[in-house]
């Protein structure tokens, strides 16, 4: 029995006879959302701590060292508590409903996008056939929240930030989508689980970047676009603290501000997982292959290994983003636009063309 949701499966198995199905669905959804929110919060908090440690070590210092004892592991928790206890401030001139809604929309849409991520082969919150579509659509929603926040704050700096975000995301959504087309041509599916499973050959090294010579350049294009999409340096223009104070979130404080902060890290995680699944083999690696051979295909430990492999790949991507942030200066808005429209988009289209021709001629898929 597989309803496409592990919680629903479990509930159906244990629920007493005659329980109405809508109740089962609702409880499964509630449990799923709870676990998802908790998981994403933990990942985001871990990323914040990791960012501070990475930044510290790049800059010849340690980063947090005291809270919690070992290398300041509890620093993010302490900061979270502090942010929760802060006064909830809304500027007088602000558009109150929009101002309150914006961080919720930003965080909500990124949570929704994360629901489509697979945790391990066959383990997922939502098994969506158009999974990638759903993820891209949902992560684009955050832009609306950011523009909303910028406009509602009634400050000139936030409006600049919002306008930059809008311009930047429009420019980079295109190469982001097109560069993802390239592995999709190879994979032939939007479903993240299936896309990952298709890379299991060659002892777990049959990754899309090795299957087709045009996937590797597409990966580079995707990564650059993803940096711009998640507002990470060198494309952090919407925040640009030396120019726009704090960009769209200048007027936010306390827990509302932390929503934007968490969204940034959740989005980084999201983009890294998408990159891992569609370019870097997803769950597949020699370790996954070995675990399957040793424990058997359906064994719990094989799934765990697969999940860990994906997590390691995702955090590899996140580390790369952090590394870039603490090394590179920020580009200017016209340079961002030039790069997006004049270089990334045509190159991504070229990659799609090349990958299609390669698939059709060399592999005879036409």
């Amino acid at each position: 029995m597989n309803n496409g949701n592990i919680f629903l499966d479990l509930l159906v198995r244990f629920a007493p006879e005659g329980t109405p199905s809508w109740l089962l669905d609702l409880s499964a959804a509630g449990v799923g959302v709870g676990i998802l929110v908790a998981m994403v919060s933990v990942i985001a908090m871990f990323c914040v701590w990791m960012e501070r440690k990475v930044a510290g070590h790049i800059q010849c210092r340690y980063g947090p060292m005291y809270v919690g004892g070992w290398h300041g592991w509890a620093q993010s928790i302490a900061d979270g508590v502090k942010l929760l206890l802060k006064e909830d401030m809304i500027p007088i001139g602000a558009d109150r409903p929009l101002f309150v809604l914006a961080p919720a929309l930003v965080l909500g849409s990124i949570f929704a996008a994360l629901a489509a991520l697979p945790l391990a082969p066959g383990v997922f919150f939502a098994d969506i056939d158009l999974g990638l579509f759903f993820i891209l659509a949902m992560s684009s929603m955050t832009t609306i929240g950011v523009v909303m926040a910028g406009w509602a704050s009634a400050s000139k700096w936030t409006v600049y930030g919002a306008m930059r975000e809008a311009a930047q995301v429009v420019a980079y959504e295109i190469p982001l989508g097109i560069s993802l087309m390239v592995p999709l041509i190879v994979a032939g599916t939007f479903n993240l689980n299936e896309a990952s499973a298709l890379q299991s050959g060659w002892y777990g090294m049959h990754w899309y970047i090795f299957q087709n010579p045009f996937v590797l350049p597409a990966f580079a294009l995707f990564f650059i676009s993803a940096l711009a999409e998640t507002k990470r340096a060198p494309f952090d223009l919407p925040e640009a603290e030396s120019e726009l104070v704090a960009g769209f979130m200048t007027e936010y404080s306390g827990i509302r501000w932390s929503f934007f902060f968490m969204e940034e890290y959740a989005a980084m995680f999201l983009m890294s997982v998408v990159a891992a699944v569609f370019f870097l083999g997803g769950f597949e690696s020699p370790f996954t292959s070995l675990a399957r051979d040793v424990f058997g295909e359906q064994h719990f430990l094989a799934s765990l290994t697969a999940g860990l492999v994906l997590l390691v790949k995702a955090f590899g991507g996140i580390f790369l983003m952090m590394w870039l942030r603490w090394t590179l200066p920020r580009v200017r808005i016209d340079q961002v636009m030039t790069m997006g429209y004049k270089y990334l988009t045509p190159l991504a289209l070229l990659c799609v063309l090349g990958a299609s021709i390669f698939e059709a001629l060399w592999l005879g898929v036409a």
Binding site: Y160, P329, V331, R332, I333
Partner: protein
């Protein structure tokens, strides 16, 4: 037809803004991201230093000089001391002159390190800032050893320096020089030659030679535009002439290597190169320093003979001039300061229009102003 009335957006950059390097306010008029006009507003940090100079005794004014360009307090001390000494008939011991030069040049390095780091921040690179502060911290520690203060030294004083260097201090300076030379290469690789950094600063905020001379710019701002003028060589004071004759240092001048002559990158380049030249001067002094007294003969109550004197010295930011007038008493009649930041700032109004908002930040950063000095 839509009847939409549009107007430029006026926005206050500052007085509390990360890019204005202190409490300066730039009223920026923008059309979207394009800046159509800019007007710097000053005076938020005005402390009436010049008026104080007319009311306190000669030696008492020295701590006030620390506080105008607080990143280069040694140079400020030196400028004021030289101006007062010009009125007096006093011989400055050679060892004192050497220590003065060492301190002034180390302070120049420290000041340029801040300029380097904060310019990185303006462009959006965080890490170079901490690298620069790592070495600056070392210099501050060395200053702390010689005078007990990290920022407001009041160490170079009328007649010489406050006290002799503690034992081993000069050797530590030598060690610093060796290490710094390696670190300096890191700065060049990490920021100055970074592709994005060059793209952001080259051809941005171009000051032509004529414009630089018209505005009376001095220091790296002037040399960045290709004018080879440095007070240490062209209007020598203390032993700088001797050091120049010995061929110990050169004057770096902007070349327009990455873009146009006189752009923001050139000014930055001049500052980065100057750190190395200052290091050479320090090395020369270390090689030639001798034992001896560190302060000249001063009367118990300092009375300066009547007269007037103007001495300009090469501060990290340009010509710091002190014009002092004495009537023979214990207190100055007039104590006028020509701050390089204040004069260099005037060029902003001409540079900022028709640039992008991000360029505004890059240009303000490239002028490397210290607001404590523009306002005094």
């Amino acid at each position: 037809m839509l009847d939409v009335k549009t107007q430029d957006l006026e926005v206050n950059m500052g007085p509390q803004h990360p890019a204005t390097h202190g409490v300066m306010r730039v009223l920026v008029r923008t059309d979207g991201e394009l800046v159509t006009g800019a007007q710097p507003h000053l005076g938020y940090l005005h402390r009436a230093a010049e008026k104080i100079g007319e009311n306190v005794e000669w030696l008492q004014y020295l701590p006030y000089t620390d506080r105008y360009d607080y990143l280069a307090a040694m140079n400020n001390n030196l400028g004021y001391s030289l101006a007062v000494e010009a009125l007096m008939d006093i011989e400055i011991p050679r060892r004192a002159q050497m220590i003065r030069v060492i301190c002034a040049e180390l302070n120049r390095i420290a000041s340029h390190l801040v300029a380097y780091g904060t310019y990185g921040l303006d462009i959006g690179a965080f890490t170079p800032f901490l690298y620069a502060f790592r070495e600056r911290e070392w210099i501050l520690m060395l200053f702390e050893k010689i005078c007990g203060a990290r920022l407001t030294y009041s160490y170079i004083r009328i007649g010489g320096v406050f006290n002799d260097a503690p034992p081993g201090w000069l050797d530590e300076i030598g060690h610093f020089c060796d290490v710094f030379e390696d670190k300096w290469r890191e700065y060049v690789d990490l920021l100055m030659m970074n592709k994005i950094f060059v793209e952001r600063t080259a051809k941005v905020g171009v000051i032509s030679k004529e414009m630089a001379l018209d505005f009376g710019l001095t220091g790296p701002m002037l040399r960045g535009s290709g004018v080879d003028f440095d007070l240490r060589r062209d209007c020598p004071y203390m032993i700088y002439d001797e050091i120049w004759q010995a061929g110990a240092y050169e004057i770096p001048v902007g070349t327009g290597e990455q873009g146009v002559l006189g752009d923001s990158w050139d000014r930055f380049y001049v500052r980065v190169q100057e750190m190395l030249e200052s290091l050479k001067i320090v090395r020369w002094c270390l090689a030639n320093i001798e034992e001896g007294p560190t302060i000249g003969e001063l009367p118990k109550t300092l009375k300066v003979p009547a007269g007037e004197a103007y001495v300009g010295i090469e501060n990290p930011r340009g010509e710091l001039g002190h014009y002092v007038v004495s009537d023979g008493g214990k207190v100055a009649v007039r104590c006028r300061v020509r701050g390089p930041s204040f004069v260099n700032l005037a060029v902003l109004e001409d540079l900022l229009p028709n640039t992008l908002l991000a360029d505004t930040v890059a240009i303000i950063g490239s002028t490397d102003i210290v607001v404590g000095e523009t306002d005094r």
